[in-house]
Amino acid sequence: MSTKINLTLKVWRQKNAQTPGHFETYQARDIDTDASFLEMLDVVNASLEREGKEPIAFDHDCREGICGSCGAVVNGQAHGPERETTLCQLHMRKFRNGDTVTIEPWRAKGFPLIKDLVVDRSAFDRIIAAGGFITVRTGQAPEAHATPVPKDKADWAMDAAQCIGCGACVAACPNASAMLFVSAKVTHLNVLPQGQPEKTRRVLNMVAQMDKEGFGNCSNHYECEAACPKGISVKNIAKMNRDHLVASIAG
């Protein structure tokens, strides 16, 4: 059954990228433990607005864990303490009455800050634009059953394709590496028969764009996998590295 709890929040406030930021302390009172983390922030924001103060800016949209809009580092963990959970699906029953909760934005060179907890993740779009697709125009497609796809390959592709592009992997990585994100898309397309013709250029172009965006390298900390709300495996990074090596030799 739900109860009410009180929390002390330390929230990163920053007007914009040009202005230095700081932690601000807020009291979150009478928070229902059945509320989601974002609903808790709604409650705090409503009281700020009633006082004529600017609410805490944070990205969010679907609030069911699939759009990838939301995310913040909560007590040092991307998306908070619950595994395989986006911030919007984290519920307040995971906290205790009297807890202090620190809330910070994703911090990475590749994700410039916009305001408070909002960062610019457009680098991910540019990485996809570099090769995260299969070149097929509308109308060109053959009959769907023309190419059977072995079930294990289809399942593997689906495991990787579940990535929601939230950026938690980057935020959790000590090197701010985007390799889990990039490898998830490379794997999704490179294991499918439909993705074979562009396999080589896909991995080369996407990795080149990733480097250009200022993301760091993978040094096997596996923090990305631990933070990923969709449980995307670091095996995808190994697969991408293999594909990249083969492509580099072949290319």
Partner: protein
């Protein structure tokens, strides 16, 4: 005042040949001329992303706008269950004609036949296209595609990617879009919100948007505008829609002259997690696919306080199976939702609020084993447990209906063009294909049909047959639209009242849910028509919007959207009040059979009700498009 003059431009000829013939009859644009046209696409859900990609592939210059930080986040991403297509891979009697028929019947005979037939025809191409893009649909061990059944159908024609079909289809369309960004055909404008449509010489020629990062207004001119901005389910405040889903783009367009059709056809989805607190910001859908294996029931005795697993079979009422033996738990959404409401109204609701019914997997787990159920619905069960803190493998889920989808929308003709020339409306934002009730797994089908396979032809026809003078953003109409948008923003910021935007939205939502939700009557609707303007008036005097206009300002974004919902809600109620019949998602208490089923009135209401804006405080004017049924005989819908 009403008129009967709306021309749907439906082609003549036999139903099955209309689209093929029409494709031949339509004008084409020469490949070398296509790059001279600029097409503005607003929204990057399935309809907007697929249209942008396809038009760019054809050679048009495309400018694509979305409200999110990335086009990949549009709310199509949240669709769980699947997408229908008449492939008949299961050899179970499906065909284009059956999908067409099921959709017409499912829509309670309030959709336009020719559109629906076209939808069924192109459904098969969608699957081919998505597979070629690398969409990882579920497959069988032989490597071929798997299907499942969905509400309102007796065949298995639904293709799916676990419980994330919308996500995978949207990521497919998004990848095609990003491919075209790289190819140079599409210019992307994320974090932009459309605030107005610009009409020059009677034609849609551009838009005014607010850059949500800087708060600055921007004008964009083009040769045609495609609105792919989704539905208005958030008018109820609590809904399964994403928080940013809104009616603003559609509503401002309506105020510029585009007719709004069938607003009262709202879909209340039967399987959502029930409301549990007043802090709640949204409702979460549990895919309808759960009804394939879950059985819906309530205790027979309202006083039965035993935990569900202690209630024996004899004391349970599997009311859908009892009332609709041939469809059982797979009855269409409108019927299932209304039945749940009926049970709760009769006091048989369960859970702390008594506004819920059980969705029980006990029998399926016994029959198939936990592993099979986990493979089918694992991610949904996990989501449920996370939100409710109950384990659905052990305890039945509790579900209740919630606002989910808008069948109504901007009126379009067969070519997806509004009465306002040059303005095209795709996907959920238009009214066209689902009549008064949408069947499961049909929204994804329609969004992609419109974007991939319909608009490329019909837009070419418009551009190829229209003489368009050059227009740029220095035109007085752009300046005027910008000034109006700016004045509105300044006004919102100047009120500095006492109540938050969300408080007003919640108040409006509750009112619409009570008076214009799953059941409506004349008295309630008339009361709503009194109350909505009063809320609106208070909003413009007492809302508090903090921050500055030319800044990243989420309070201001919300305020603009709620201001439009406060106007739109009146149209929703007006349409519901005028439609003196029950059909699909529109249930008028006065119009029901003895056993409580919806009673249509084909003699007086077999038409599309398209409303013309006449001013915020003036009554809108009704235009009728008569619905002519050439193929399917009007019949009382029965799922018994």
């Amino acid at each position: 005042m009403t008129s009967n003059g709306l021309d749907s431009k439906t082609p003549s000829g036999p139903m099955a040949e209309k689209w093929t013939r029409h494709k031949f009859d339509m004008k084409l644009v020469n490949p070398a001329n296509k790059r001279k046209y600029t097409v503005i696409v607003v929204g990057t859900g399935l309809a907007g992303a697929s249209a942008s990609a396809t038009l760019s592939e054809l050679g048009y210059k495309v400018k694509t706008f979305c409200i999110q930080d990335s086009p990949r986040r549009a709310h199509s991403i949240a669709a769980q269950g699947g997408i229908n297509a008449a492939k008949n891979y299961q050899n179970d009697g499906d065909s284009v004609y059956r999908l067409f028929y099921d959709t017409i019947k499912g829509g309670d005979f309030r959709s336009r036949e020719a559109n629906v037939h076209r939808l069924a025809e192109v459904s098969v191409n969608i699957i081919d296209q998505c597979v070629a893009q690398g969409v990882p649909f579920a497959r069988e061990y032989g490597g071929l595609l798997d299907n499942r059944s969905f509400g309102g159908a007796q065949v298995s024609r639904t293709f799916y990617a676990r419980g994330q079909t919308g996500q995978q289809l949207l990521l497919g369309a998004y990848s095609a879009l990003m491919k075209e960004v790289t190819a140079g055909g599409v210019t992307l404008f994320p974090r932009r919100e459309m605030l107005d449509l610009v009409v020059v010489d009677g034609r849609a020629r551009g838009i005014v948007v607010r850059n949500l990062l800087t708060g600055k207004l921007e004008s964009h001119a083009g040769d045609a505008v495609l609105l792919c901005t989704g539905g208005y389910g958030n008018v109820f405040y609590l809904s399964t829609n994403a928080k940013a889903c809104n009616v603003t783009a559609a509503w401002r367009t309506h105020k510029k002259g585009a007719y709004f059709a069938n607003a009262c056809y709202t879909q209340i989805h039967p399987t959502c997690i029930p409301v549990h607190g007043d802090y709640q910001s949204k409702l979460t859908l549990m895919s309808e696919s759960l009804r394939n294996d879950g059985r819906i029931w309530v205790p027979k005795n309202p006083e039965d306080k035993r935990p569900p697993h202690e209630i024996p079979e004899a004391d349970r009422d599997y009311y859908l199976e009892r009332k609709y033996p041939s469809f059982g738990n797979l009855a269409p959404r409108d019927i299932s939702s209304r039945s749940a409401k009926e049970q709760c109204d009769a006091g048989r609701g369960v859970g702390p609020t008594r506004q819920a019914v059980y969705l029980d997997f006990r029998d399926a787990i016994e029959r198939l084993g936990k592993d099979v159920i986990e493979a089918r619905y694992g991610n949904l069960f996990q989501m449920y447990e996370r939100i409710v803190d109950d384990d659905p493998y052990k305890v039945p889920m509790m579900i209740f209906p919630a606002s989910h989808y808008a069948m109504g929308g901007l009126w379009v003709d067969y070519n997806l063009m509004s009465n306002l020339p040059g303005l095209h409306v795709l996907g959920e934002a238009n009214f066209s294909d689902h009549g008064a009730n949408r069947l499961g797994a049909s929204a994804l089908m329609q969004g992609l049909a419109d974007g991939y396979f319909v608009i490329p032809y019909t837009l070419s026809h418009y551009l190829g047959s229209t003489k368009l003078e050059p227009v740029d953003t220095n035109h007085a109409e752009f300046k005027k639209a910008e000034e109006e948008a700016r004045a509105r923003i300044d006004k919102l910021l100047s009120i500095k009242g006492k109540r938050t935007v969300d408080e007003f939205h919640r108040q409006l939502g509750l009112l619409c849910w009570d008076k214009c939700g799953m059941a409506r009557d004349e008295k309630g609707l008339k009361e709503a028509l009194q109350e909505i303007p009063a809320i609106r008036e208070e909003f413009w005097q007492n809302v508090t919007v903090t921050g500055a206009g030319e800044d990243f300002n989420q309070s201001l974004e919300k305020a603009g959207r709620v201001a439009d919902f406060l106007e739109f809600a009146e149209l929703l109620v007006t349409d519901a009040l005028h439609r003196e019949e029950s059909c699909g998602g529109h249930f008028r208490v006065e119009h029901q059979t003895e056993d409580g089923e919806a009673k249509r009135d084909d003699e007086h209401f077999a038409y599309v009700g398209a409303w013309e804006f006449k001013g915020v405080d003036a009554a809108p004017e009704l235009h009728k498009e008569p619905l002519v049924f050439e193929e399917v005989h009007l019949a009382t819908r029965s799922y018994k």
